[in-house]
Structure formats: structure tokens, C-alpha cells
């Protein structure tokens, strides 16, 4: 069953066409790999899917229903969570305040329930992701290492995701073991009926866990193939040379 569908999505920045007539589907409980070289348009596509950047033209369907206005609040309501490549955290805020930024737990007058948020953050950091060196939920994100900050971003997305988890190069700052754990987690999500879209340079990662692979080249979709119908070699040729054999 299709969860998210894009039809004829085009994105222009001034005279530059970054995405050119891209259509794709993501099924419920499906793990989809989005591959392509630098400048292929992957990150722009992710930003459009998560509602952060508007598309120039095209249609966005959710559960078969067209969204008239795609915005971040709209996608958030539908349970889409994204781990952005630049991790999208605020360095001058604590881990707790980052996790709950824009979704603060408050009383009805808007005052923060800081103690409760600290407790939940501690719980998430202890159970969802586990990474060495974080001392307290009150620590400023600016004081964390790249991997720790990545872990916080992952923890936030994993905590709030309800239907689709988008990961844009999530493993760039992670060690080998951490990467393995994250990839296995995506496979496990399928059982909960949660879809994920994995954007990566690493074809071996993608090939191992993704049910389907979409390859982008210069803003166009050049390949959309199920895992059983392709090979790492074919994907490599598509990504590197921009041709499908």
C-alpha cells in the first residue's frame, strides 16, 4: 500500500533546475534507498518530502490523498520525521531543549514542563540510542562530538516518528558499529509498519537493508528497482556513470 507518492516534482532555484519531473512512491513498511552522486538532488528531494522546502511544481500524495499545501507542520502531523544531513540541531541549546524544540511539553499557559522533558530525554538517550560520553540531558549540543550530536538527532527522529522516517546520510558521523545498529533498526521498523527512506552514498549499506532502490542523476530519477531485480554492480554503474544497463 502506498504511503507517500510524489508526481512530477520539479524544483528550480533561479535558472537552475535541481529536480526535474521526479515521481516516486514509498510503500507502508517499506525501506527505500535513495542513491546518487553529489548534486544529484537527493537532499532537495528529502527537504521537499519533509515539507521544509516547497516544490516549484508537482503533486504530493499522502495515503492517496493529495496535500494542497505541503509544509513542515503538515508533514509533522502525518508522522514524518527527518534526520537531516547537517543534523539540524541548535548548538546553543541543551539536548532536552533540542529534542523538544517546537514540540515542547507545556502546561496550558505555554510554560515548559522541563523536569518531565529532562526525564523523557534521559530515557530516550538511555534506551533508543546509546552512545558514550553524554553526561546529562542538560548538556549543550554545541559541546557534543559529531557522533554524539548525530545520535541526538537520530534519537529525536526515532522518538517522534509515526509513519515515515527519512534519514539523509545518517551514518556520516557514526562509527562502524553504530552504523550497523542503525541499519538493523530500519529493518526492524518494517515490522511496526513504519516506512523509511535512506539517503546514502554507501551502496553496500543501502543494498543490504533496502527493499527498493531509487537512483538519481542530475535531478532526474534514472532507476527505480526492487532489490531482487538488481545488483550492487548495477547500482554502482547507475550512481557513478549515470547510466542504467
Amino acid at each position: 500500500m502506498t504511503l507517500l507518492e510524489l508526481r512530477g516534482v520539479t524544483k528550480r532555484y533561479g535558472p537552475n533546475t535541481v529536480l526535474d519531473d521526479v515521481s516516486l512512491e514509498i510503500g507502508r513498511g517499506e525501506v527505500v534507498g535513495l542513491l546518487g552522486d553529489n548534486g544529484a538532488g537527493k537532499s532537495t528531494l528529502v527537504k521537499i518530502m519533509s515539507g521544509v522546502v516547497p516544490m516549484s511544481s508537482g503533486r504530493y500524495y499522502w495515503d492517496g490523498e493529495e496535500l494542497a499545501h505541503v509544509s513542515r507542520p503538515e508533514t509533522e502531523r502525518r508522522g514524518v520525521e527527518t534526520i537531516f544531513q547537517d543534523s539540524a540541531l541548535v548548538p546553543t541549546m541543551s539536548i532536552t531543549r533540542n529534542i523538544f524544540a517546537g514540540r515542547e511539553l507545556t502546561n496550558r499557559f505555554g510554560f515548559l514542563k522541563l523536569k518531565q522533558m529532562d526525564e523523557i530525554t534521559t530515557e530516550i538517550l538511555d534506551t533508543v540510542v546509546s552512545i558514550e560520553g553524554i553526561k546529562s540531558a542538560k548538556q549543550l549540543v554545541g559541546s557534543l562530538s559529531g557522533g554524539q550530536a548525530q545520535a541526538v538527532a537520530i534519537a529525536r527522529a526515532v522518538h517522534f516518528k509515526r509513519s515515515l522516517l527519512i534519514l539523509d546520510e545518517p551514518t556520516s558521523a557514526l562509527a562502524v558499529r553504530a552504523t550497523e545498529a542503525l541499519l538493523n533498526y530500519l529493518v526492524g521498523l518494517k515490522a511496526e509498519g513504519i516506512s523509511s527512506l535512506l539517503v546514502t552514498h554507501n551502496l553496500h549499506h543501502a543494498y543490504r537493508v533496502c527493499d527498493r532502490h531509487i537512483v538519481m542523476n542530475h535531478g532526474r530519477k534514472i532507476l527505480d528497482v526492487r532489490r531482487e531485480d538488481t545488483s550492487v554492480e548495477e547500482l554502482t554503474t547507475a550512481v557513478v556513470e549515470g547510466v542504467v544497463r
Binding site: 537531516f84 541548535v90 546553543t92 524544540a101 517546537g102 507545556t106 515548559l112 533508543v128 540510542v129 557522533g147
Partner: protein
């Protein structure tokens, strides 16, 4: 299900390492205050205050710092006004914007206060003065968020405009209260003398506490820090930066409006184009108190201490009979030192 990003065996659970006693929690809170500027500047202020007190005790005639007239007549009037303005400027800086029209708006809204007082009495005038300051700040904010030009330039230009507007409305001669308008009640509320302190201190305390709750314990504050600290990250979690910035501008207008009334009542008049100094002093106080020039960093406590520090040293220089330009030298140098210090703090935030 969990994602073990590290081997779990050697790792302590965060939940187990949290402090359990009241003292432990207090220590933890103080620890995580480090690197946010307020603690450091408080130590500096404490040291200066101590030095002044020692000097005053040793030589009461030559350095009358502890004189009742000095504490009540100078410090407890000048610190609160600058503190309130620093809170406004600082909250706006945290959200990532500046307002260089603060001084001009003080002039205009004080003129509004005096003239409306003369016609309709001060309660309505208070509302009018504050409302006009808020409205002007929102107009400034709209120009900034709609045109995307830097607030630096937009509000610099608007500052000249509002100064011109207040001269247009009032003429160059000072606006003064009509006989019988500046009643005892009005004075006791906004500039009352209660021995060692004045009513302005009470205003600063009330506003300081309210602003602390708004910035540090309310959803608005969290959003302001997010927008100023990393606007892309804020957008990615559904925060609307323009709305937050407009709210911060409006808050600053509120502070400017209240400060303008305090100034007008104390001085019992207002001449347009004489309050420009407040703009840079307010921003300086915020920076000295730990607000980052690039947004996302600062505390209410720091802003107040920053204002107190500037006013106290200024006062010390004056009663110590230093030449007038020393004050300007000091303010200039302290802004630069504070900005450099903030920059260093940004590198190693704990």
C-alpha cells in the same frame, strides 16, 4: 527496540547518573550555567562592587559610592532603566535580530506619554506610550522579516525616521507635563523615592522575573533560542522564524515603552532626539551580559548584570571625578572585550 550506537557493557545509564539530592541538583544546574556568560559576568561585577565598597568605606568623602543620595538618586534609577532596555534588546538578539531604533523610540513614546497625560491623564497615557512603542517595534520587525534585509540596516534607518517623526509631532522644544499632571501618585509609581531605593528597582524586579519565565521557562523562549541559534534547524521542527522574530520585536517594544515612561516621569519632560545613547548602551549591556551578537545565546540574569555593570562603573568614574570621556572609553572597550569573550565561549560551550 533500541539502537546501540556503542557497546552497552561499560556504559553508565544517564538515568542512574542524575543527581538525587537537592544540593546535587543545584550543583548540576550551576554546572550547566557555565559557558552561558551570566555566571562569569556576575563574578566580574561582584569584584568591581567589592572594590567600590572598600574604596567608599576607606574614603567616604572622596568616593561617596555608599552615600544614600548616590545609591538611591543615581544607581537605583539608572540601572533599572538600562536593565529593562537590555532585557528587550537581549531577547531580540537571542532571536537573532537587532533594533538600532531603541533610543529614537524612547523619545517618541515618551512624547506620546507626556502629551496624552496632559489631555487624558496618565493611565491612558501609559497604555498609549507602550502601545505606540510596541506598534513601532512590530513595524520595524515586519520590515525585517518581509524584506529580509538585515535588521541592523532596517532599524538604523527607521531610528532616524522615528526621531524625525517625534520632532515632527512635538517640535524641538521639550514636551513637558502640564501643571498638576505629574501628580504624587504618578511619581511614586514610576520614580518614587523610598530612601535607599526607588520605584524603578521594583519595575526592574517585576519585569526581570516575568522575562525570566518567558525566556527560560516558556515555549516562546525555547523557540527564540532555536531561531537565533540555527534558523534552519528551527524550520525543520515546524517553528515559524518570522512569527518568533515578530514576537521578539513586540517584546522589545514593550520594554522600550515601559522604559520611556520611567524616563519621562523621572525627568518630568522629554526633548526629542536626546535619547539616542540608549540604543547602544542597551545592546552593550546585553553583550556584556553574555548575549551573542549572532543570536541564540544569552540570559535575563546576564542582561541585568550587564546593565548594572555598565551603570556602576560609569557611576564610579563620575563620583571618582574622572573626566567625562572616560565613560565612553570604558563603554567602548567593555563592548569589545565582552564580544571577544562571548566569541571564545562559543568555541567551548559546556
Amino acid at each position: 527496540m533500541s539502537i546501540a550506537l556503542e557497546e552497552r557493557t561499560t556504559r553508565l545509564r544517564l538515568a542512574d547518573s542524575r543527581p538525587t539530592t537537592r544540593l546535587g541538583r543545584f550543583k548540576e544546574n550551576v554546572y550547566y550555567l557555565r559557558g552561558r556568560g551570566a555566571l562569569e559576568i556576575s563574578l566580574v561585577y561582584g569584584a568591581i562592587l567589592l572594590a567600590f565598597v572598600v574604596a567608599a568605606v576607606a574614603n567616604p568623602a572622596g568616593f561617596p559610592f555608599l552615600n544614600e543620595n548616590n545609591l538611591s538618586g543615581v544607581l537605583s534609577q539608572s540601572i533599572p532603566v538600562l536593565g529593562i532596555l537590555a532585557i528587550g534588546a537581549g531577547v531580540l538578539m537571542i532571536a537573532g535580530e537587532f533594533d538600532l531604533s531603541i533610543g529614537a523610540v524612547i523619545g517618541l513614546s515618551a512624547v506620546v506619554f507626556i502629551r496624552v497625560s496632559n489631555e487624558y491623564g496618565w493611565p491612558l497615557a501609559f497604555v498609549a506610550a507602550v502601545a505606540s512603542a510596541v506598534a513601532i517595534a512590530v513595524v520595524n520587525g515586519l520590515i525585517v522579516v518581509l524584506t529580509k534585509i538585515p535588521s541592523f540596516i532596517a532599524t538604523l534607518g527607521m531610528g532616524f525616521f522615528w526621531t524625525g517623526a517625534s520632532i515632527f509631532v512635538n517640535g524641538l522644544s521639550p514636551a513637558v507635563f502640564a501643571p498638576g499632571v505629574r501628580t504624587e501618585r504618578l511619581v511614586s509609581l514610576f520614580a518614587g523615592d523610598y530612601g535607599y531605593f526607588r520605584s524603578q528597582i521594583v519595575w526592574l524586579l517585576l519585569i526581570g522575573v516575568a522575562a525570566w519565565f518567558l525566556l527560560h521557562r516558556h515555549r516562546f523562549g525555547n523557540k527564540a533560542y532555536a531561531v537565533g541559534g540555527n534558523v534552519a534547524a528551527a524550520k525543520a521542527v515546524s517553528i515559524k522564524p518570522n512569527v518568533v522574530k515578530l514576537q521578539a520585536f513586540a517584546f522589545m517594544g514593550l520594554m522600550t515603552g515601559i522604559a520611556s515612561v520611567l524616563i519621562a516621569v523621572r525627568a518630568s519632560g522629554m526633548q526629542p532626539a536626546t535619547t539616542e545613547d540608549y540604543t547602544l548602551l542597551a545592546i552593550a549591556a546585553a553583550v556584556v551580559g553574555g548575549c551573542s551578537l549572532t543570536g541564540g545565546r544569552g540570559t535575563i540574569f546576564g542582561m541585568i548584570v550587564g546593565a548594572a555593570l555598565i551603570r556602576t562603573i560609569e557611576n564610579g568614574l563620575i563620583i571618582g571625578k574622572a573626566p567625562g570621556f572616560y565613560v565612553q572609553l570604558f563603554v567602548g572597550v567593555s563592548i569589545v572585550i565582552a564580544a571577544v569573550f562571548n566569541k571564545l565561549m562559543e568555541g567551548r560551550a559546556t
